[in-house]
């Protein structure tokens, strides 16, 4: 392995070909997936090769990962290899044997998507009647089984009441944390997203309200520079420089974005090994060579640049056209004179 090659620390896999819901904001299945699903045996081999590369963190995501026909054996095998397995699910499916497999070895963390405390609104947003009840039941089971858990709420408005109601619901369920994702102008979110719908002044006010008036377990997906100092210690950064994504047919992708942007894919397992993809993919090479140094706009001047790298390169590609485009929120805050001076330096 060349000394320049960063460790492959994180693997995001999307084993299922799609999703059982039709969420308004999703970018994953914007273009429908037509390839052949990787077999369980292929996934096992891919996971083993990833661990051999040093990978210790696996995220099962999607689409809906629990829709994959062999998800339970896939989870069991993954659990025998990876110290940390994170699952992102819409929580509407409970495949046979899932909870038994979780009991044998708990996942490191499970996030379920739940957008509104009102069932009707959640179901409308997720495109399926009855989704809310199923997801709440799943979230309750996570708590009952003592599995580290989180609810992810996706919002397109800066309204406070839905957040207040969701905090109450999360407390009733006993959920660990409530993460608030702001719907990005990508995929189906292009027409109805947080960023285009709300003036930057309202957005900053909304963040301030979340920070000051909601419990610490409420975690808004806000770029580091827009968070107060006391929230920075627990702030998670995007691991994309050490991350490989794999689509349902084995295509190697920049996280999961090649679902909708084919140019962000390179090679396919098993024809290409994990090592080969990690070392030679022009997509990962481009990320390594351009981030963080070539990042533009306010991100270039930001003191968080080296760890934050613009918050989400996928989002930045969608909004600014390039992986080096700045984060839309920070850039708008900067242009409106609302970006904190204390987070800027001259480079």
């Amino acid at each position: 392995m060349s000394s320049q090659l960063p460790t492959l620390g994180v693997l995001y896999i999307n084993p299922a070909g799609g999703c059982n819901l039709h969420c308004r904001h999703c970018w994953v299945n914007e273009g429908s997936f037509t390839g052949e699903l990787l077999s369980l045996e292929n996934w096992k081999e891919l996971l083993s090769q990833s661990v051999a590369e040093g990978c210790s963190y696996l995220k099962l995501t999607g689409g809906e990962p629990l829709l994959y026909h062999d998800i339970v054996p896939l989870y069991r095998y993954s659990a025998s290899l990876f110290p940390r397995i994170v699952i992102e699910t819409n929580g509407t499916l409970q495949p046979e044997g899932l909870w038994e497999a979780f009991a044998e070895k708990k996942p490191f963390h499970v996030s379920v998507s739940l957008d509104n405390a009102e069932a009707r609104l959640h179901d409308e947003f997720r495109g399926q009647r009855g989704a809310w009840e199923k997801t709440v039941e799943f979230a309750e089971k996570l708590v009952k089984n003592n599995i580290s858990n989180q609810i992810i709420m996706s919002v397109s408005t800066a309204q406070r009441q839905p957040v207040v109601d969701m905090i109450k619901l999360a407390q009733q369920i006993g959920t660990g944390t409530l993460k608030i994702n702001f719907i990005t102008p990508s995929g189906r979110g292009k027409s109805d997203n947080f960023f285009d719908k709300n003036p930057i002044e309202d957005i900053i006010e909304f963040f301030t309200w979340i920070d000051k008036e909601t419990p610490r377990g409420v975690l808004p997906s806000v770029p580091a520079a827009l968070l107060p100092v006391n929230r920075l210690k627990n702030h998670g950064y995007c691991p994309v420089r050490n991350l490989m994504g794999v689509l349902p047919d084995g295509t190697f992708s920049l996280c999961g974005v090649a679902f909708s942007r084919k140019e962000m894919a390179w090679g396919k397992f098993p024809a290409i090994s994990v090592h080969d993809a990690w070392e030679n993919s022009p997509v990962y090479k481009m990320i390594r060579s351009s981030l963080p140094h070539d990042i533009e706009g306010v991100c270039h001047r930001c003191i968080h640049r080296d760890s934050c790298i613009g918050q989400c390169v996928v989002n930045n590609m969608e909004t600014g056209g390039a992986v080096t485009s700045p984060d839309i929120l920070c850039q708008r805050a900067y242009e409106a004179g609302l970006f904190p001076e204390t987070r800027l330096i001259e480079r």
């Binding site: 107060p228 100092v229 006391n230 968080h304 080296d306 204390t342 987070r343």
Partner: protein
């Protein structure tokens, strides 16, 4: 009198909830809150170790191990390259 000085390239930023020590050359960023924030602020204002210690003693008269805690913190900042 032990003079305390941030290393070249290190800047200290004050905010309402705490401070940030940032090394422009390495990109290292350290968040400081509470007493650590106060100490960094005093270093930034050119106070030496003895002066900082006496300020701390004024604020925390009950604390027995202040000097040791301050020494440990200074050592930590030096190890991280924030202090010369």
């Amino acid at each position: 009198m032990e003079k305390l000085e941030y290393a070249k390239g290190v800047v200290f930023r004050r905010e309402p909830a705490g401070g940030i020590l940032f090394n422009i050359d390495t990109g290292d960023l350290q968040v400081t809150e509470g007493v650590a924030f106060g100490i960094c602020d005093m270093i930034d204002n050119g106070k030496d170790k003895e002066k900082i210690l006496s300020e701390l003693r004024k604020h925390y008269p009950e604390e027995q191990d202040l000097e040791q805690d301050l020494d440990d913190f200074i050592k930590e900042l030096k190890e991280k390259g924030a202090l010369v």
